[in-house]
Structure formats: C-alpha cells, structure tokens
C-alpha cells in the first residue's frame, strides 16, 4: 500500500471560495439523505419496536422485539411472503423474453423503432392506469382474454382474478408485460456493446449460432443480466400497486396479497404503525441479504469485456 503524506499548502482565496462552494454542493444531497432517508429509517426501526398507532405515545408503548416475534407466527404475513416469492417466477420469464426480443430487435429489421417504442410504452405508462386496464383485460365476463378464449373454444375462460391460482398467474403475466420494455432496452444496449470482432473470430473458428450465443452473447450480457436481476428482485419484493388496484381486498382468500400490501393494510388500514414498521424492517433486511448475496456471488458468473 502506498502511503501519502499530507502536504500542507496555503490555499488561495479563490481556492477557499471554491472549496466552500464544493462543501455546499456536497451538503445538499447529504442533508437530503439524512433528512429524507436516514431519519425515516431510524424512525421506522424505533417504531418497529413499539405498539405505536400514530395516535398513542410511541415511547410509552415500546415492546422490544414483540412485533418481530409475533410476525414469525403471523400466518397472513407468511402467506403474503409466499405469494411475493411466487410472483418472482416472472423475473426469469421476463429476462428470457427480454433477451430474445432484444436479440430480434438487434438485427436490421423494418419497423425496429416502432417495435421498440411499443415494447417500451408500458414502462412509461402510469402503473395505476395500466393496472386498471389489465383488470378489465382479465375480467371474467367482459375481459379481452376470455373474449378470445370463448371465440376460440366456445366455452367460458378462467376466472383470472377470482381464483386463488389464476390470480397469481394473472399478476405474473401483468408484471412481465409491464417490465419487458425496460429489460429489452437494457439487453439491446448490452448487445450493441459486444464488439462484432468476437463473432467474426468465432465464425472463423467455425462456431455455430448456438455456440456463439452460449460463449459470446450470454457471458457478455451477464453484467446486464446481473443488473436486471438485482433491480427485479428488489422491485419484486416491493410489489404493491397492481395488487391493490386489481384485487383491492388481497384476492380470494388473500391469495394475491404481497408483503407490502400486507404492510400497508396493517399500518394504514388497521392503524398498527409499529407492527407495519416491523414488517418493513424485515422486508428491508431480506432485500439487503439477497442483494448482498448477489453482489458477493457476481464474481462467479458476471463477465465483462475487460
């Protein structure tokens, strides 16, 4: 390790002024972070150890780990956690589809821009608006899907949002649709960054398209895959809006509720802000652990061109 000796130099007035400005620029995001991130996080952690309702005294109702212990045997929490994890089946599906479509769009095909825009529209659309729209697409009697189903088979289609299994499938379909555009754009950028020489060299060596895909495309897309995986996992644990809009009471027998849905219900419908905070803290810890595992594990499979 190289050691650096601090050399004291006299700063000019201008340098001092510049330094003051620099501190000011640093201060604004720092203060913002302290005020809007650090403080609420600390507050949430403290609240999670209490029976705070928003109305009663926070400090007068401290219960230590009471909420956490209760959560361990909270059937509804675990049901919601299970559903949240099941929804994550959509992540690999979205990644595979995204990669395939990106590879398609990476060729010189007519209407490429129109197609890219079409795929990206859901990403920039309001989540609430498209959730309402899809609730109608999935509608049992009047929905587009069951309309097509009836046209093709002559029988009534499934109860997409009213059946315990189908509601999960419906939400996975929605989430894949909603996220696909973003994944495609990322993979497209990744594909365009792979130097053509690699493929040419492989061709000279006699590699077929599968070999090229497996040995060049896939490994060199791994940084994108890593990024998509991390952000999708984090997003996956935070799913809320679409569930709330499509199944406002959490689906039949609470089958579509996610952890954040449960958290919201506890904290803001039932006034258990302390308990809700404990759920949030647990969720944050889980996300932290999974993200950390991903970061530590990335050496094994994420390859870069350098």
């Amino acid at each position: 390790m190289a050691s650096h000796k601090r050399v004291k130099t006299k700063m000019s007035a201008m340098a001092k002024r510049e330094e003051r400005w620099a501190w000011l620029f640093i201060a604004s995001p720092f203060l913002g972070f302290m005020l809007f991130m650090a403080y609420p996080i600390v507050f949430a952690v403290i609240a999670s150890a209490s029976k705070w309702t928003g109305i009663n005294s926070l400090w007068g109702n401290m219960v230590g780990f009471g909420n956490y212990i209760k959560i361990l045997s909270d059937v509804k929490f675990w049901r919601a956690m299970g559903t949240t994890i099941i929804y994550m089946i959509g992540i690999p599906i979205g990644m595979i589809l995204g990669m395939l479509v990106a590879m398609g769009l990476n060729r010189k095909i007519p209407g490429k821009r129109v197609l890219t825009t079409m795929y990206y529209v859901p990403v920039v659309s309001s989540l609430v608006a498209v959730s309402i729209l899809w609730a109608w697409v999935f509608n049992y009697d009047y929905g587009l899907l069951n309309g097509i189903y009836k046209f093709l088979t002559g029988t009534h289609g499934p109860n997409w949002l009213g059946d315990e299994v189908m509601v999960k499938i419906s939400l996975i379909i929605f989430m894949v649709w909603k996220g696909l555009g973003g994944t495609i754009i990322l993979y497209l950028a990744g594909l365009q960054n792979i130097p053509r020489d690699y493929y040419e060299a492989a061709m000279i060596d006699g590699a077929g398209s599968i070999a090229k895909f497996m040995n060049i495309t896939l490994p060199l897309l791994s940084p994108v895959t890593f990024y998509v995986l991390i952000t999708s996992l984090i997003g996956g644990f935070q799913v809320f809006v679409e569930v709330q809009v499509m199944t406002p009471s959490g689906g039949p027998n609470y089958s579509s509720a996610t952890v954040v849905f449960y958290l919201f219900e506890k904290a803001f419908t039932n006034g258990q802000l302390g308990y809700g905070s404990a759920v949030a803290v647990i969720l944050a810890i889980i996300i932290f652990i999974i993200t950390a595992i991903n970061f530590w594990g990335q050496d094994k499979w994420v390859k870069t061109i350098d």
Binding site: M37, P40, I41, A44, K51, T53, G54, I55, N56, S57, L58, G60, N61, L127, V128, S131, N139, Y140, D141, Y142, G143, N159, L161, G162, I230, I234, F237, Q238, F240, V241, Q244, V245, P248, S249, G250, P252, N253, Y254, V260, L263, F264, F268, T269, N270, G271, Q272, S277, V279, A280, L283, A284, I287, F288, I289, T291, A292, N294, F295, W296, Q298
Partner: protein
C-alpha cells in the same frame, strides 16, 4: 477486498432504500389506487387528489386552523358557512385557515400532526376514534360551550356516539358534533317490478326473509331468451351489504362489552348467514364468478338487479337519470325470523371536534356548533335551498319538516320513501339501526376474516357451520390485538 466492501455498502443502501420505499412511496401510490373500488363509495371517499386551503380574515386576534376532508362542492357550502362565522365574530377572529384534503390523505396528515404535536384547532373524529383521541388528550369536551337546546336538536344517535365517560362510548361528555349521519338503506328498481307485474315493497312493512325470496324468484329471469339468467333479484357486496341481512335477524358479532367474538355457536348468525348465502346458491344473485366480473353496484346501475343497497350518499347518483335511468325507491332490508321483527341496518357518521390544545376553545366550539347545526347551513347541505342534497339535515325538525316538504314538492330530488331512512335514524316499529360493532373497536381488522371468506360458502366449498367455527379464532386474535391497541392509548 475493496470490491467486496463496495458491494456491501451498495447492498446496504439498496436494502435501506427498500425500507424507505415501504414506508413512504407506497402510501401515496395507495392513495391514488384506492379511489376506484366500492369501499371508497361506501366510505364517501372523494375523487379529488389535491388538498386546498383558504384563509378567511376578520379584525380580531384569534387565528383558527380548520382541517377536514370533503368534496369540492361540499367545501363551497362549508366555506360560505365559515365566511358567515367570521363575519359574525369579526371582532374576535383574525383569520380562519380552512384546509380541506381527500379522505385518503386525511388520516396520514392527522397522524403527522399528532406526531409533530401540531394539531389543527378543529378537525374530524369518527365514533371509533373518540376514545383514543380523548385518552391521548387530543380533543376537549364541548358540553360547557354549547347549550342543551342545540345538542337536543340533532338526531339521538349523534347525541350519543360522540359521548365518552372515560370507560364507555355513549355516555359522559360530548366530544364532537356530527358533520352528518348516514345509513345503508335498501332500494328497488320500480321498472323491473312493473315489468314483472309485482306490487312495490311496502315501506311500512319490510319483507320477511321468506317473502323476500319469493319476490326475488319472480324477479330473476332470462330477459333476452338466450338461456342464461341476466336479471337477478338482488346483488350483495359482502363487505357492506351482508350485515343488514344479518342484523335484521338479531345478529351481534361480539358480546356486550365487545371483548369476545361470538360467531361459532351463534344460532341467529348461522340462520341468517345460511339465508344470505343461499340467495347466491339458489341463483337469486349473480354468482361469485359473475360478481368478480361486474360488481353489484354496476349491475344495479345497469338495471340487472331488482334490489340493491343504497347508502344515503348514493341517493344523488341514483336520482341522476344519466347515471341511473330507472325509476326507483327506498325500502327496508328483509327481516329474519329470529330478530326483534324490525328491519336493521348500520349507520355511519363523522364529527367535528376541537383540539384540547387550542388557544380559543370558545370560538372553536361555536364554530363546530355552527358547522353542524346552523339551520341555514343544514338547509344548504341537504338541498332545501340549493336543490342538491349532499347529506340529510342534522337537525331533526328540519329533516321531518322543510326537508320532507322539499322532497314531496320536488325541490330536492330524493326518493319519496325517505321515511325509510328516517325510520332507521330514529327507530320505530319497523326500523332500527345502529353503528356497527367495528365502529366501537380500535380497528375493524377482526371483521375482515369474516366477510372476506363468505364467498367460499356461496361457492359450496364450506358449510356455514364449519365456516363460522373456522373464522372465530382468527377474529378473536384480531379483536384481542385491537383491544390491546385501544388500551395502549392510556400509556
């Protein structure tokens, strides 16, 4: 190594931001989302997304902050009332800041005010929150500031539900004046009755369970001859529209001191719930699947069902030909064999209260009484002078007198059987109503396991007896938690 440290820091930040996301962002998103469902209609949610604040000034020294939720057209009327109040008290009032927000945002803003220890001078309290607000020292008793005549001019229920003696609701000091009183009445589509050649329901004699089934059978049909039923006797939303059927059979979910759930061995409940779910099993309501496709409210508006619940807040919409192009009227919920022989439903209310820390309790109490019981104000909100009824008058004499006259002579568009609602409000030989039990417990979480799974009975997946036995422990656990939270207020 460096990379690992960096990875850990990044992961930590991501985890932290997730925590943030859970505690802040989603709240706003949920507010946006929940305006769409029927629960919102039943709780009179507003559609506006922004809060607004108006400052009204006088020449005195006292500044009041009034914080409420209401719809924009309601705000116009109330603003005029506050304007008048400032004029009448201009020697005292310096300014009144009148801030209005949406119902979705209201609770969160109130929690923020409570946490910050910066309460508005006048705000809302629901009957369920009176106890917590008083125990935590947020609101003050109003008895000494308001004369008895004013208090006795309002509906009996609203005189009681905002009283608290430190132990029980219903007696003791008065802590709020009603903004309104509402109830969940029943309505029928006259055109469908005419088409079926049936007599209209008698507003002075609600149907028995058996009579109701017979009428529903006559009104359930395949109108276009395609072999599928497309008109039903009734449609019910389990969360809101089931309890009136049950209450009308004498059902209570909790014991008298509201500490024990009583459903598993509750014969009246089992009888009423069997009747209620059989309506669907026998095809007199849309099926569970059909209900998920299109809710009862939409089917009612579309003329597909003959009976549907009608909250007092729904009347204006049903009177509007563009929304509901059918003739209709009010009637009572059917009466079960094991109740007191009267038709029962639930009522709702929200009240104006005064902050315990206000510097100007006299002025606040006067303002609250004005908003709640000023005759001209009540004429305006009930439509007597404006022609558009936002709510029923809080003043009993006004309701039975000028309001009914205005309904009868067509000044106020309202269902002519308005006496059904007054019967529920006031109680008589045929009608009775009360606040729901969940209005007296800290939250209504204990009731959710009950209503949310009733569709399983309708589907034939579980018997009524097994169902009530299955949900009771879950309900009791949630009730215990609610009691514990209620008690935490005094700590």
């Amino acid at each position: 190594m460096k990379r690992r440290v960096l990875s850990s820091v990044l992961a930590m930040l991501v985890g932290a931001s997730a925590l943030m996301g859970c505690s802040t962002t989603t709240v706003e998103e949920a507010g946006e989302a929940s305006g769409d469902n029927q629960a919102a209609q039943a709780t009179e949610a507003t559609n506006e997304t922004e809060s607004s604040s108006t400052t009204l000034t006088g020449e005195g020294e006292e500044t009041l902050h009034v914080f409420l939720y209401m719809q924009e057209h309601e705000k116009e009327i109330y603003q005029k009332l506050i304007d008048q109040f400032v004029e009448e008290h201009k020697d005292k009032v310096k300014e009144i800041v009148f801030e209005v927000t949406t119902q979705d945002e209201y609770n969160q803003k109130m929690i923020a005010s409570m946490t910050a220890g910066d309460m508005p001078d006048v705000f809302y309290v629901g009957p369920a929150a009176v106890r917590s607000y008083v125990d935590n020292g947020y609101i003050m008793p109003l008895d000494q500031y308001v004369d008895d005549a004013t208090i006795s001019s309002i509906w009996g229920t609203t005189q009681e539900i905002y009283r608290y003696d430190g132990k029980n609701i219903g007696s003791g000091s008065l802590y709020a004046f009603p903004k309104d009183l509402s109830c969940f009445a029943f309505a029928y589509n006259q055109d469908l009755f005419d088409a079926a050649g049936l007599d209209y329901p008698d507003p002075n004699k609600p149907y028995t369970y058996d009579e109701f089934v017979e009428v529903c059978k006559a009104l359930t049909k395949d109108t276009d001859g395609d072999g599928e039923i497309d008109q039903w006797g009734v449609a019910n939303a389990d969360q809101w529209g089931m309890t009136p059927f049950l209450y009308s059979n004498g059902v209570k979910f909790l014991n008298d001191d509201m500490t024990k759930v009583n459903v598993a061995n509750n014969k009246q409940l089992i009888e009423a719930l069997t009747f209620y779910t059989d309506l669907t099993k026998n095809g007199l309501t849309p099926s569970v699947e059909q209900d998920t496709a299109l809710g009862g409210y939409q089917r009612w508006l579309d003329g597909q069902v003959a009976f549907y619940a009608c909250g007092t807040w729904d009347v204006a919409a049903f009177m509007d030909d563009n929304t509901f192009p059918y003739k209709w009227n009010l009637c009572g919920w059917p009466v079960g064999p094991s109740g007191d022989g009267r038709s029962h439903t639930w009522m709702g209310s929200v009240g104006y209260c005064v902050s315990a820390t206000t510097k100007y309790p006299d002025l606040c109490a006067e303002l609250v009484a004005k908003l709640s019981t000023d005759a001209d104000g009540q004429r305006a909100v009930s439509g007597i002078t404006t022609g558009a009824s936002i709510q029923l008058p809080n003043i009993v004499d006004l309701a039975y007198g000028e309001f009914k006259d205005a309904v009868n002579n067509g000044t106020v568009p309202y269902a002519s059987n308005v006496d059904v609602i007054f019967g529920y409000f006031d109680g008589n030989d045929h009608y009775a109503a009360a606040l729901q039990e969940m209005d007296y417990t800290y939250n209504s979480e204990w009731f959710t396991p009950f209503w949310s799974g009733v569709f399983n009975i309708k589907n034939g997946d579980i018997s009524v007896e097994d169902y009530v036995a299955q949900v009771e422990p879950e309900m009791q656990a949630a009730l215990d938690e609610a009691i514990e939270l209620q008690n935490s207020a005094t700590k």
